[in-house]
């Protein structure tokens, strides 16, 4: 049996933050789990995929995050305890549904795990900060620091969701999601996987004018959760000596760097560690900053907490000197040394270690960068080199996220634009409409097999409906490769697969060909032929990923 399923209360096992979330959900009696894979959230889905049967939980890889959230909502409306997991960009996709879902509220509990990736270790697109959704959607957000808190906060989130009938977000960052540490186990609770939908359009139908009442109900719930947040022990104060007039407000993984920094500098300062990002315990923050001369806000990415503290200080302590993004970076993840340097600046305490000199010495080394690349023997090597040879000079190559984004690096350098899933074909459509029809500019839009199902189909339909002629090349390696080889509708674990070429043909795409990239000559000839077509064309280049 997998260690994560052990029924040994009190035993400590090492879990990744993401697996601790899974364990927390199991200990809360979760019954229905959905996800679309995305690093650094992928392990939540991967682990449920492995253990769901044994654990008696319904689990699915949905086709995208919006569908995942909607499916979980259906189960929640039918009374089941649900969890949905995704990375930050996934929440953008799901947000169209998230906002009204907060209005209606839920029936069975719902916890949404969202993982941000400061420093973009595994993310193209942007260094997105999910905290922005707190105010946009009026949704409570909890921020754990380590795996034990991942489990504890998940259980707390299920409790809050039950009490207030709202979905609750657990927001991780990479260094929490992929941080492993001992976690103390408690009892796993098993539920059933069948519920009952009881009609209640008053709650579930977001029609005006009822929708405005719903908004007020939502704001009332948030006000009540704020009172809960004021008393919650997850907004904890580590007291320092009362003579010290410098304090620190922090949350998430940054708290751990603060603790390291104080140890390094051999100094004791009061710390307010916030487990709730939204709603914030405003009275607690006011009391904390009330007696201070200076406060340092230690948070990654944008200064959301800093702005809140600035606002609260106007009444609580107008003379308070507030430090934050003027001493810690706004771009890229925090490291312990950033926090050591900031605390040192404000407290006057010096570290024994000269970080500055050591860094200068390191920077002089200038180690050569090693770019990520396609695995040795990956079928994409052949596909990209063939297409590059076949395409006339000046051909525009459109990309998306997935293993095929690696073509952006040398030796291929074939990603003239690269954005979110689904976008390569729609941007290609816009380019073909914008450039003169006889000017000779051509676009090849790359889309992955999993990405095609995620968001590529509406984009393809648009090229047909609004009549343009990019060449769409589906890089079909029969798996969701980049995130760890998850199945998708074109390559299911069992049952009938949905063939991408059949989808295209059924939509009326006239030029569709499926090719194995080892047929180099035929692929080369087809690329040349299809680029001269007056209508949209598609080549499905199919050969399985080496890792499946």
């Amino acid at each position: 049996m997998e260690e994560i399923l052990l029924q040994k209360p009190g035993k400590k096992i090492i879990l990744l933050g993401n697996d601790a979330i899974v364990r927390g959900a199991l200990e809360s009696g979760v019954q229905f789990v959905t996800t679309y894979p995305g690093t650094p959230a992928s392990e939540v889905g991967n682990t449920f995929f492995r253990i769901a049967k044994q654990a008696g939980v319904y689990f699915e890889f949905s086709v995208n995050e919006k569908v995942a959230l909607e499916a979980a909502a259906g189960a929640s409306f039918s009374g089941l305890k649900t969890m949905v997991a995704m990375k930050n960009f996934g929440l953008n996709v799901a947000s169209d549904f998230l906002l009204p879902l907060c209005y209606s509220g839920i029936k069975g509990e719902m916890v949404i795990l969202v993982a941000d990736d400061p420093s973009c270790w595994s993310s193209a697109q942007s260094e997105e900060n999910t905290r922005g959704f707190a105010h946009l959607a009026h949704i409570p957000i909890l921020e754990p620091s380590d795996p034990q808190e991942c489990k504890d906060f998940t259980k707390l989130a299920f409790g809050l969701s039950k009490k207030f009938k709202l979905p609750i977000i657990i927001r991780e960052t990479t260094r929490v999601a992929l941080q492993a540490a001992p976690v103390r186990l408690e009892e796993i609770v098993k539920g059933t996987v069948r519920g009952k939908f009881v009609k209640n359009p008053h709650q579930f139908s977001t029609m005006p004018p009822r929708v405005l009442e719903m908004k007020n109900e939502l704001l009332e719930k948030i006000a009540k959760i704020k009172q809960f947040s004021e008393k919650s022990p997850i907004n904890q104060i580590d007291r320092g000596p009362s003579s010290i007039q410098l304090g620190i407000v922090t949350s998430g993984v940054s708290y751990l760097y603060v603790k390291e920094a104080l140890k390094e500098l051999n100094i004791n300062l009061p710390i307010l560690k916030l487990g709730f990002f939204h709603p914030l315990p405003e009275q607690k923050i006011k009391r904390f900053i009330g007696g201070l001369k200076k406060v340092l806000i230690v948070e990654e990415l944008e200064p959301y907490l800093e702005k809140e503290v600035e606002r609260l200080a106007k009444t609580a302590n107008p003379k308070l000197q507030i430090f934050g993004k003027n001493v810690v970076p706004v771009t890229g993840e925090l490291k312990p040394e950033h926090v050591i340097s900031a605390v040192s600046k404000l407290s006057g305490k010096k570290s024994k270690f000269n970080f500055f000199l050591n860094l200068k010495k390191f920077e002089n080394l200038k180690p050569e960068k090693r770019f990520p690349q396609l695995c040795s023997g990956c079928p994409y090597w052949l596909t990209f080199s063939t297409i590059k040879r076949a395409a006339p000079k000046g051909t525009i190559f459109g990309g998306e996220i997935g293993c095929y984004m690696l073509a952006a690096y040398p030796p291929h350098e074939m990603q003239d634009y690269l954005f979110c899933m689904g976008s390569s074909s729609s941007i290609a459509h816009g380019i073909m409409k914008a450039v003169p029809p006889s000017g000779g500019q051509k676009v090849i839009a790359f889309v992955g097999d999993s990405s095609f199902f995620h968001a590529g189909i509406p984009a393809l339909i648009n090229t047909i409906y609004n009549k343009s002629n990019p060449l769409i090349i589906v890089m079909d390696n029969r798996t969701t490769a980049m995130t760890g080889q998850q199945p998708h509708p074109g390559a299911p674990v069992e049952g009938e697969e949905i063939k991408i070429e059949n989808v295209a043909r059924s939509l009326g795409v006239r030029h569709v060909k499926t090719l194995d990239p080892v047929n180099v000559k035929e692929l080369e000839a087809t690329v040349k032929e299809f680029l001269s077509k007056k209508e949209v064309s598609m080549i499905v280049v199919r050969r399985p990923c080496l890792r499946i």
């Binding site: 690093t39 595994s122 540490a181 050591n358 090693r370």
Partner: protein, 193 residues
């Protein structure tokens, strides 16, 4: 119980099995009753690029990240990558480099030589130990990927890690799937010689 935490960086290239090595050392530390934290990266960064993981253990560990210049031991599976780990190394912290004597070339106008890398590592450490782990594993077991297990075996037997070699071996048995276990144990024990 030691007074200070012990900080390890494992660095290499995607596909060299760093995450498994990290897990093994964490399990070994937990079995000795220590607090432990690790940090790793998945997804894009695992695809043939530079990869680093961190393991910290001792009386009480807060940060999953080792601070700049704070590594006690750097286990490098490739020599260029060892150079990259100098960020975490310093003579003040008495950093030891345990480096696989193996180079995966990076396309460059001025390729680095082994000697120049060793010289640079020397400026950031107390000592550098070069071990031909890939060569040994290729010769003895026809499996390069065991080089990492060989190196943690080397570190455990030569007391470069304050963990008992028996704890590390037990952790290997717990972490590695049955079908690969025999070869991994062999690679680990080879380092005893």
């Amino acid at each position: 119980m030691p007074e200070e935490n012990f900080n390890i960086i494992i660095i290499g290239v995607g596909g060299q099995g760093l995450i498994t090595l990290t897990k093994i050392l964490a399990e070994a530390a937990l079995s000795e009753g220590l607090d432990v934290k690790t940090s790793e990266l998945h997804g894009l960064s695992q695809r043939g690029g530079s990869v680093e993981t961190m393991i910290r253990f001792g009386p009480r560990v807060y940060s999953p990240l080792v601070k700049q210049g704070g590594a006690d031991l750097v286990i490098a599976l490739e020599m260029h990558e060892a150079l990259r780990a100098c960020y975490y190394a310093s003579p003040d912290s008495k950093t030891i480099f345990l480096a696989n004597d193996s180079i995966k070339p990076i396309p460059s106008e001025k390729p680095l030589t082994k000697n120049s890398i060793i010289k640079d590592l020397g400026r950031f450490s107390l000592k550098t130990i070069l071990v031909p782990a890939t060569e040994i594993c290729q010769k003895e077991m026809n499996k390069e990927v065991l080089a990492g297990i060989y190196l943690i075996g080397f570190a455990a037997f030569k007391n470069l890690i304050p963990l008992k070699s028996s704890s590390v071996l037990r952790a290997i048995k717990k972490t590695i799937p049955e079908k690969h276990l025999e070869l991994n144990v062999k690679a680990f024990n080879l380092a005893q010689n």
